[in-house]
Structure formats: structure tokens, C-alpha cells
């Protein structure tokens, strides 16, 4: 293993939440650390750091990914959307409202990843039933709610969108 001092930094230029950013970072820096530490976007959380919990879920070039399993340098040239940008866009205002009224966020640690993941399902298939919802969020751990309220909130959002 080389010393980190020997390793030249790499420049990452990406569009994050609509804004162009550029930073020189170590190649080993994960995308979620880049977002949190370099850009101070701390809405994306870090749980397991090996792909299991989903707390770090962000959108890259239109699809959700694990921020802990992608290197920052791999996001060079990409469009990255974090929970901060997704919230501001208004895309999931209805989903967030339903999370609140249903108490689908308790400690809130899983919530940003859960919302990113649910947003993808709702965009593709607002009519998804409870089984599909559960399968879609199977990679996002919540240690508080027991999932029931989360599934309720996603289901209701989809139903309301379908009626519009």
C-alpha cells in the first residue's frame, strides 16, 4: 500500500444540487465523505460504509447510488443530487409531508436515504403496492419505526399522485 503522501490528489468537478463545484481530493475519498466534508452537505448520512444500510443514498446522473461505494473521483463530470437539493426542488414535498404526519421519521438517521430511495420508486411507479414498496426500500435500514409508517407514507404519496 502506498503512502498517502505519495499520491497526487485528483480534481473532481461535478454539479452538486445544481451548482458546479471543483475540489482536489485523495482518490480514496468516498463520494459521501466528499459531500459531507468538502461540501458540508451533511444530510447524507454514514452508517455501515459497506453498502448494507442505505443511509448514504444519493442520486448520481438521475439514479440512486450508495455514496459509500462510489469514489468521489468517479463523480467527476456527474450531476449529483443530495437530500438538500431534492428537498429544495420540491419534488418530494408531498412525501416529506406524509413522513411527518405518519411519524415515519423518528430519530431521522435513515430518513434522507429513505426519501432518496422512495423518490425513485414514486417517480417510476407511483402505483407501487406495499410489497413492491418493501422490496424497493429493502436496502435501507431503519432502527426506529418498524417500517410500517414508512411504507404507509410512501403508499399514500403514490396514491395521491395517481389521483392528480
Amino acid at each position: 500500500m502506498p503512502d498517502s503522501i505519495d499520491i497526487p490528489p485528483v480534481v473532481v468537478t461535478a454539479t452538486v444540487n445544481g451548482e458546479r463545484v471543483s475540489r482536489a481530493v485523495e482518490p480514496r475519498m468516498n463520494l459521501v465523505d466528499f459531500l459531507r466534508e468538502e461540501l458540508e452537505l451533511t444530510g447524507s448520512h454514514i452508517g455501515c460504509e459497506h453498502g448494507v444500510c442505505g443511509a448514504c443514498t444519493v442520486r448520481v446522473d438521475g439514479t440512486i447510488v450508495r455514496g459509500c461505494l462510489m469514489l468521489a473521483v468517479q463523480a467527476d463530470g456527474a450531476e449529483v443530487l443530495t437530500i438538500e437539493g431534492l428537498s429544495e426542488s420540491g419534488e418530494i414535498a408531498d412525501l416529506q409531508e406524509n413522513f411527518k404526519t405518519r411519524n415515519a421519521a423518528q430519530c431521522g438517521f435513515c430518513t434522507p436515504g429513505m426519501l432518496m430511495t422512495a423518490a425513485e420508486l414514486l417517480a417510476e411507479n407511483p402505483g407501487a403496492g406495499r410489497t413492491e414498496i418493501r422490496q424497493h426500500i429493502s436496502g435501507n435500514f431503519c432502527r426506529c419505526t418498524g417500517y410500517q409508517a414508512i411504507v404507509d407514507a410512501i403508499e399514500e404519496t403514490g396514491r395521491n399522485r395517481g389521483e392528480k
Partner: protein
């Protein structure tokens, strides 16, 4: 944990990627297995060679009865492909069971085949379909049949300095029936047991059956005894029972933190019955 330091290169051709592979270098495809092992410091290469820029490795095509899937094709692309649904229904049925959407968006076919986890779905599908792996190295390109490719636990026919460019499977024929049955603790987890079944029939009679089991040994496990028990017979209680009995000799599961070898063998038998009954009903 955070990875140990490494250098990073993003080649723009397969040849350039191969030329970067001498020394302590590792290929980075979807990163869905590799970056986890880097984060945990289970591996610490000097150089990562990121093949995500290599367009030539992406995409699905059909040519003269063969379906060719580029190594960089993401699991999610397979899941959504009409070509895969029509020509490789076994793969179409298996892919939604691989991990979770965010992981399927990044994970690749080549990475899954190269990693060769004995519980992974795509290696088992490749073997059930008797497909082949297309490999490029400094000496040129070669093709290795699935039966020779998977050698042992996380061990494949890939040599140092080589990369997978594509996999090939025969397009489904009208007299073939397929089924995937799997049990996992949670949707998307690696299965505790499962079978990818490809059965060729002549009317009611089985001509050949390739039943490949996950989490049942060091590699995806082709059950030859079970296949022989089915060949020449109709799928009924007797032939299903004979296939189930043969599994004890065919499979070699080991204990892990989820279940004992005995439980896995039991589950493999249950999966066999479910898959075969579904095939017989189709």
C-alpha cells in the same frame, strides 16, 4: 472504516486498461463489492483501474442465437431489458433478487462474474445456461466456458492482467423452461439457498436439466446427479423425489452465520421442488 491510500487511473480503451494491470492493480467496475472490501481494508491495492469509461464494454446484443452481454452492463439494465426478458428469461427472473435498487444501478455483470461469489445469482445463471466468458489480456482475447471458469471459492480462470469483456449465453429455445427459486433473510440479501433451473423438454419428457445451486459449495454448483435423475422422465412426484435425493451427492454446502450445511441442503431440496413444479405447470 476508510480505504488505505491508492492511485487511480481511468483508461479510455480496453488495451490501455490491460496495460495498466501489471503490478498491484485492481479493476474497478461497479464498485459494489470492491469498494466495500477497500473500506474494510480487506484489500489495499496500489492502483485502481476504473473501467467505467469504456463504452465498448456496455450493452446487450443478440447474434445468431447468442445473447452477448457487455461486462459493464449494470444489473439494472438487465432488469429493464426487453431482449433479456425475451431471450434470457432465466437472467430476467434472477436479477431483481440481486441486492437493492441503489446497488443494482451500479453493479455490473462483469464484476459479478469476476467476483464469483458462490451465493451470487449471475454466476449461477451463466452456468445453468452453459454460457461463456469472454476475456481480454495482453495476449489477445479468449473464451472460457462457464463450467471451466468457476474454479473454487472466489477463484476463477481469470489470470493476472486479464479482464472480462462480455458474457455470452444461448438465446432461449422454444422447448426450454426456466425457473429461479431462492430464500433470503431479507429481499435483496445474498440467498441462503436457491436454484437457477434450465430444463429442456420434449413434450412432457425432460431431455436435459441443468439445475445450478447458489450457496451450496465453493462455486455455483451444477447438480449432475439431479439432472440425470430427471433426464428421460416426466416431471412428477417420483422424478422430483429422485432429483432431491441426488442433491446430497451433488452439493457441498458449508455452515455460515445464517444457517448450517444441513439447513442449506434441506432448503435446496425445497427450492428444487418449487422450481420443478413451476416448470411442469408452465
Amino acid at each position: 472504516m476508510k480505504p488505505a491510500p491508492f492511485n487511480y487511473a481511468k483508461p479510455s480503451s480496453v488495451d490501455e486498461a490491460i496495460s495498466l494491470l501489471d503490478g498491484d492493480a485492481t479493476l474497478l467496475a461497479g464498485g459494489q463489492s470492491l469498494v466495500a472490501t477497500l473500506n474494510m481494508r480487506l484489500s489495499a491495492p496500489d492502483l485502481l483501474v476504473d473501467i467505467n469509461g469504456l463504452e465498448e464494454l456496455s450493452g446487450i446484443s443478440v447474434d445468431g442465437g447468442t445473447v452477448r452481454i457487455g461486462a459493464l452492463t449494470r444489473h439494472r439494465e438487465l432488469e429493464r431489458s426487453e431482449v433479456i426478458a425475451a431471450q434470457a428469461p432465466l437472467i430476467a427472473e434472477a436479477v431483481p433478487l440481486i441486492a437493492h435498487p441503489a446497488i443494482r444501478n451500479r453493479g455490473t455483470v462483469g464484476g459479478s462474474i469476476a467476483f464469483a461469489d458462490p451465493a451470487a445469482e449471475l454466476p449461477a445463471c451463466l452456468l445453468a445456461l452453459d454460457g461463456a466468458v469472454e476475456i481480454a489480456g495482453s495476449g489477445g482475447r479468449r473464451k472460457v466456458g462457464a463450467g471451466e471458469f468457476f474454479r473454487g471459492l472466489y477463484d476463477t480462470a481469470l489470470e493476472d492482467g486479464e479482464l472480462i469483456t462480455a458474457i455470452e449465453v444461448p438465446a432461449a429455445a422454444g422447448n426450454q423452461r426456466f425457473a429461479v427459486e431462492e430464500v433470503a433473510r431479507r429481499h435483496g440479501d445474498y440467498g441462503m439457498a436457491g436454484v437457477m433451473a434450465s430444463v429442456t423438454v420434449n413434450g412432457e419428457t425432460v431431455e436435459a436439466a441443468r439445475l445450478v445451486y447458489i450457496a451450496a459449495g465453493g462455486t455455483p454448483m451444477l447438480a449432475e446427479g439431479a439432472g440425470a435423475a430427471l433426464a428421460g422422465n416426466a416431471i412428477d412426484e417420483a422424478s422430483i423425489g429422485a432429483a432431491q435425493s441426488a442433491l446430497e451427492g451433488d452439493l457441498d454446502p458449508f455452515d455460515d452465520m445464517n444457517s448450517t450445511a444441513a439447513t442449506k441442503l434441506h432448503l435446496a431440496r425445497v427450492m428444487t421442488e418449487r422450481a420443478l413444479k413451476r416448470i411442469a405447470g408452465a
